[in-house]
């Protein structure tokens, strides 16, 4: 028996699958034409899609807007960079980024989860702002210049290995990592734990009376989102060979929020689509006019006003309809008899 949420999640999976197929097509075409730039741009879009995914996990599921998710992205990127400069190991860098973003998200979550709503947005904004300033002023982290010189590394899988310098190879690695993060979050949302998160967004005050700790669920979602952002961030220095404090700035967090809104809040797959869409928009508009802020701002505003479910709001319903036709899920019975507003339990009265 599948319910509506499982059904929508399946529609998201189908969109994600389409995305993977399109990515593979791009990879094939890129290899055929010996392309570097588009593959690496695609890789970057995927990395930022991971950040958007973490914003959507918070906004779309537990219902809180983080304006500072770049904090964890940046922590992942810096820790990965520091690790790679000492030991050129992909796995070690990912493990270090995981640990660091996990710890940071626990601390950040303890602070931010004391409040919700707009206060949550402002607190996450402030947290990221303060840490970005600290990094900006820390000589050991390259201060305002950031750190260059992160080496190109070989990523080993048993007997095979892929170089981060190979455009198509690394593109595929990042695709695998980001889709794995997608799969992990999507899976978790379709568990009893995920349902509690969904409930939080809908009516947080009711949740404790059903026997679930709202704080724990929110905390778990926040930490999960922090780790997703951190692991995505860890990939950045492998692609670009440097990190800079701008990765933690509001512009980065803001772009992730824009991506999620464009792609469709609460759909996960939408966040990935939105992120790629934003990169394409910026790339096209950026070459055409330096006033890209106006265009992006306008599209964003129109999207919030007239397309509140984003791109996925357009794409997903037909997919859902198609899915339900092909799976024969019993929908609401149209010709059910109209029952009285209160149905009387047929059990006999006591005593």
């Amino acid at each position: 028996m599948h319910d509506r949420l499982t059904q929508s999640m399946r529609a998201s999976h189908l969109l994600a699958l389409l995305f993977v197929l399109a990515s593979l097509a791009l990879a094939a075409m890129g290899t055929a034409t010996d392309d570097t730039f588009y593959l690496r741009l695609g890789t970057e879009a995927l990395i930022f899609a991971g950040l958007a995914l973490s914003v959507d996990l918070l906004l779309g599921y537990s219902g809180v807007l983080s304006l500072g998710q770049a904090l964890y992205f940046g922590i992942g990127a810096y820790v990965s960079a520091l690790t790679l400069m000492k030991v050129p190991s992909f796995w070690l860098a990912m493990a270090a980024a995981f640990t660091a973003s996990l710890l940071a998200a626990i601390i950040g979550g303890l602070i931010a989860n004391r409040v919700r709503g707009v206060y949550f947005a402002l607190i996450t904004f402030g947290l990221a702002q303060v840490l970005a300033k600290v990094v900006y002023n820390t000589r050991e982290l390259g201060s305002s210049d950031g750190m260059i010189g992160i080496p190109v590394i070989e990523i080993a899988f048993g007997p095979f290995s892929v170089s981060t310098g190979s455009p198509v190879g690394f593109f595929l690695i990042v695709l695998v990592v980001i889709m794995a993060l997608y799969a992990l979050t999507a899976y978790l949302l379709d568990t009893p734990f995920g349902r509690v998160l969904t409930a939080l967004k809908s009516n947080e005050r009711r949740v404790p009376f059903l026997g679930y700790s709202a704080w724990r669920a929110r905390m778990a979602a926040y930490v999960l989102a922090g780790v997703v952002a951190g692991l995505s961030g860890a990939l950045y220095p492998m692609l670009r060979g440097f990190v800079s404090p701008e990765l933690m700035f509001f512009a980065t967090s803001g772009n992730a929020v824009i991506s999620v809104v464009l792609g469709g809040v609460g759909t996960l797959a939408g966040a990935i689509y939105g992120s790629v869409l934003l990169v394409i928009l910026k790339s096209i508009i950026g070459s055409w006019t330096e006033h890209h802020l106006i265009v992006i701002g306008l599209i964003f505003m129109l999207c919030v006003l007239f397309l509140p479910k984003g791109l996925a709001g357009v794409l997903r319903p037909p997919v859902e309809a198609w899915l339900s036709r092909h799976r024969r899920i019993p929908g609401p019975v149209p010709d059910a008899p109209v029952l009285p507003a209160i149905a009387v339990d047929t059990k006999a009265a006591p005593q």
Partner: protein, 393 residues
């Protein structure tokens, strides 16, 4: 739907560029990529860079181009963000197949682009970033700097100060980030070699709204000179607030080359009077080459060039000279040609030191008089340059 759109675009552009790349590489126009901030706080600097380069390209093209090939400038907005700069630079290198790259402003972008140039086996140059690290400990065989670095500026200014105000008590006020601190430290060490004594130092956060909170310390220290390395809007606030509080009388304010520029001098107004700095360029330089440049620049852009515009203008002539000397646009050959190259610019003869890719040039001390920078002193390029500490090549 959207994934469907990326592929045709990608494919189309790829097809176009592979054609362009192979068929016209040595005969079509020479492409020069410009990755510079066209939006955000650094826009005014990006504008000067753009205007300087455009003027130079126009003049070079009118005179027959570089080795008979026209120069084609391709601009991208880097938003003063290294992540964006690298992405745009890669686009220019990989898709547009540019032969040369310039334009980065903040040192983070310049350093990141230098590394990218190395990995793409291309050359790049900065005409703005003055952080010493770019041609010292973080120097790159693929990055050149044609503008004066922080130390050249400090040396020139300190030399003048030692003459003008011997043994002056100097108060230092810098923006609180790496660049601001290192600039203050560099000037302080130069000035103290010349006999100046310190009246204290303070670092204000970037984008401070109010500098009045530091005025108490300045007043109590009773310095004769205040040195500052703040820039942009921060300078406007600092100097006008100093004026409003009546601190400017009897005080000499000196600073970094980016402190008072043509972008903010109008906004600062009378508070800028008497401000002195060490720079590699001033529109006042009294040479026929400079007069011609200033007139042409003013004609094209309705405003005076500043050091960013002039250094950017000069860069294209260095590249022209190098390509013509090398007889090619190939990276290794052009790099060899640029090393040790001497060429003429509006600010006089510049020479690129082979050891660290830093341009040596005569330095000027300029002071604001009636809203214009007047040259009041100069230091020869040999005396200003400082030792070569680059060890990578």
């Amino acid at each position: 739907m959207k994934t469907a759109t990326i592929t045709p675009i990608a494919a189309g552009l790829l097809a176009a560029t592979t054609l362009a790349g192979s068929a016209f590489a040595q005969s079509g126009p020479i492409k020069i990529g410009v990755v510079t901030p066209l939006s955000g706080t650094y826009t005014p600097i990006g504008q000067q860079v753009r205007w300087g380069l455009e003027l130079a390209a126009k003049e070079i093209n009118a005179a027959g181009g570089i080795a008979g090939r026209q120069v084609n400038l391709l601009f991208e907005d880097e938003e003063a963000n290294p992540s964006v700069a690298v992405q745009k630079a890669e686009k220019l290198f990989q898709v547009e197949k540019v032969d040369f790259l310039t334009g980065t402003v903040n040192s983070g972008s310049t350093l990141a682009v230098a590394q990218l140039a190395e990995r793409n086996a291309k050359l790049a140059a900065t005409t703005v970033s003055f952080a010493d690290s770019i041609t010292t400990d973080k120097c790159s065989p693929n990055m050149f700097r044609v503008n004066a670095r922080a130390e050249q500026q400090s040396v020139a200014l300190a030399a003048w100060l030692a003459k003008e105000k011997p043994k002056a008590k100097v108060f230092y006020l810098g923006p609180d980030y790496e660049m601001g601190r290192s600039t203050v430290a560099a000037f302080k060490s130069s000035a103290e070699k010349g006999g100046a004594q310190s009246g204290g130092e303070v670092f204000a956060p970037l984008d401070s709204k109010d500098y009045t909170q530091y005025f108490g310390q300045i007043r109590a220290a009773r310095p004769q000179v205040v040195y500052t390395s703040v820039a942009g809007n921060d300078t406007v606030r600092l100097l006008t607030q100093l004026q409003d509080f009546g601190l400017l009388s009897g005080l000499t304010v000196v600073g970094a080359s980016g402190t008072v520029t043509s972008q903010n001098i109008t906004a600062i107004g009378a508070a800028a009077e008497g401000f002195a700095t060490g720079v590699g360029y001033s529109p006042q330089i009294d040479s026929p080459a400079n007069k011609k440049f200033v007139a042409a620049f003013r004609e094209a852009n309705k405003t005076d060039p500043d050091l960013y515009g002039a250094d950017s203008y000069g860069l294209l002539f260095a590249y022209k000279a190098a390509v013509e000397k090398a007889g090619s646009t190939e990276t290794d050959k052009v790099r060899e040609a640029l090393r040790g190259l001497s060429w003429q610019t509006p600010q006089g003869t510049k020479t690129i030191r082979a050891g660290d890719h830093q341009a040596m040039q005569p330095m000027y001390v300029v002071r604001v008089t009636k809203g214009k920078f007047d040259i009041i002193d100069n230091v020869s390029s040999e005396n200003a340059i400082g030792p070569d500490t680059c060890t990578r090549f």
